[in-house]
Symmetry: C2
Subunit: 163 residues, 2 copies
């Protein structure tokens, strides 16, 4: 449970030296960063016994939630927040392990269709209980109302990106 107070202190010093530095945006960005690191590390730890890491978990879950358990690499890159070159590597490995298949698309021959295999589905449903526990733990400090509020604010912030 990393303490955020030192970050606040550093930010005060920074602003004293450089008054134009915007406190609130900087706090938000640093909080997001810290939260992500925790999420990432904890997910890695949970997945390790299954021979997977956090990005691989993500890929699998995106497919699990897709119609027909299938997606293209580019959709997957977008969904999982990975660069496309990285999706190639990740899906190659998952396919070597037998959890997904790779097939050329019929209608557009540039496209590739990645599909979960039954073994992939089985694997997912094996590790999901651990993930469910993790997710509950990671949000245990927030009431349902607070979770909903947080969701709304994060979406709003995210929507402002990329301009």
């Amino acid at each position: 449970m990393s303490d955020f107070a030192p970050t606040e202190a550093r930010l005060r010093n920074t602003i004293q030296k450089y008054p134009a530095f915007p406190r609130e945006p900087a706090v938000l960005v640093r909080l997001v960063k810290h939260l992500y690191k925790e999420v990432h590390d904890e997910a890695n730890a949970v997945m390790r016994p299954y021979g997977l890491n956090h990005p691989e978990y993500n890929i699998l879950m995106m497919l699990y939630g897709a119609p027909g358990n299938a997606m293209n690499p580019s959709q997957l890159a977008d969904a999982a927040g990975e660069k496309s070159a990285n999706v190639t590597r990740l899906t190659t490995r998952l396919s070597e392990m037998g959890f997904i298949t790779r097939a050329a698309s019929e209608d557009d021959r540039r496209k590739v269709e990645l599909t979960l295999t039954p073994a992939g589905v089985e694997l997912i449903e094996t590790f999901l209980p651990d993930i469910v526990t993790l997710l509950h733990r990671q949000t245990r400090n927030l009431s349902m109302l607070e979770q909903a509020q947080l969701e709304g604010l994060l979406k709003k912030m995210l929507a402002g990106f990329g301009g």
Copy 2:
């Protein structure tokens, strides 16, 4: 401005197949992940012309906010959310570039003191205008009240980690 609707749809499918999967915690984690990726990529893009990347920017800013512009590697690892082995590498590079110095601590000889050089401070104050612009852009959709609410909720969530 990556659209979040497909994520929601995937989550609905997932829950239909696996009802125990907690929607709200999963949404929050995915939002944090997407936000972080955007923050990371955009910061990398802004820093590139200065010959730096996002983690290096972070290291420099942590030092800039520290008393005496100095910290130990372990403090820095905690502050910047980097693994300590990575801090060694990052600070070695920054020191080779002349932006920080590395010195053995007087009182505890296990410790190392990393300090910003004048060149480091100058560099920071050169790129800060671009960062300030970036930070404002990344939070432009949120009112000041919303930013404060978001800060509170993120802190609360973060405080629940690590148990």
